[in-house]
């Protein structure tokens, strides 16, 4: 585990691995997105309660899962970066943050567009939407911290501390918001239908994988950007630009 991490901690190798995997992520993501969209928008039958309105689930739930998973990834990468002093782990966290914020934004917008026909209002202070909103502010906070430091290394490490503390806080936020909504009996809609039919379920699973791969695709691109930005003075970057100009093309 450690040697594997240590190897990936070398910027040229990580750059190469990210570059190699980019097209794979890209094409499987697009393929599965197409499959999931066909399954979700055309093949799946309308829900017996929500009609066709439930089809928002196929974009809402995958982005909600990713909005949380990306923050956990940032916190784990930050911890690895702090403990083993792996600079590349910080690069992963920094590259992932704007993507996580984008998924959180998607979750909020699709959630409120779902809420309008179901609850009659775009914003209902439901437990999920409220904690997603706090999560969005946490992403903004993280991005603000890493950009506030003039020194890259300090910004990385400060951001890692914030991400770890925030990641510990997220379940508490979640629990507190649930407690708060149960207190006032606010509008809440349970999206988890235990008897969801297979025709409805498989497109959801496909979309979750597709969104994850889409994230991996953009992460690999942003990670290479981060690596080049950090390592622009390194000699391997210069040899890369001379010898590998063709290999370094965009995927």
């Amino acid at each position: 585990m450690f040697t594997w991490l240590h190897k990936l901690g070398s910027p040229p190798l990580l750059y190469r691995v990210a570059g190699r995997s980019t097209p794979w992520f890209k094409w499987t993501a697009f393929l599965l997105l197409a499959l999931g969209l066909v399954g979700g928008l055309i093949l799946a039958p309308p829900d017996y309660q929500q009609g066709d309105g439930f089809r928002i689930i196929y974009v809402h739930v995958p982005s909600a899962i990713l909005s949380l998973a990306v923050f956990v990834l940032m916190a784990v990468a930050g911890a690895i970066g702090l403990i083993w002093r792996l600079r590349m782990a910080h690069a992963v966290a920094v590259a992932a943050a704007p993507l996580g914020a984008a998924f959180t934004f998607i979750t909020l917008i699709t959630g409120s567009l779902w809420g309008k026909p179901m609850w009659g209002t775009y914003w209902a202070w439901g437990p999920r939407l409220t904690s997603e909103l706090v999560l969005l502010f946490l992403y903004f906070g993280y991005i603000a911290v890493i950009n506030a430091f003039p020194n890259q290394r300090s910004g990385d490490r400060a951001g890692a501390i914030f991400a770890i503390i925030a990641a510990v806080d997220i379940p508490i936020i979640h629990y507190s918001v649930y407690w708060w909504t149960s207190l006032h009996q606010g509008a809440s809609l349970s999206f988890t239908n235990s008897s969801i039919s297979p025709a409805m379920l498989w497109p959801l699973l496909v979309m979750i994988v597709a969104f994850t791969l889409y994230f991996c695709w953009l992460l690999s691109i942003r990670l290479r950007t981060e690596i080049l930005r950090r390592e622009r003075r390194a000699s391997w970057v210069r040899t890369l630009t001379i010898t590998g100009a063709k290999n370094a093309k965009l995927a």
Binding site: P46, I106, W217, T241, A245
Partner: protein, 56 residues
Amino acid sequence: MRSWHEFITMGGYARYVWSAYGVVLIVLVASAWSSCNGLRRILFRVRNYPVGGGEQ
């Protein structure tokens, strides 16, 4: 399999379903564009200013 009309109107939920998918499309395309653009720009800088990667 559903009819073309049913697909477009989404059983009366067209406004919400299509605007949700529209927002997703816009955000996903925008983040892909900005990610690719960032890489393109850093590669340009690194290639054209080999020493130091083009400090401002």
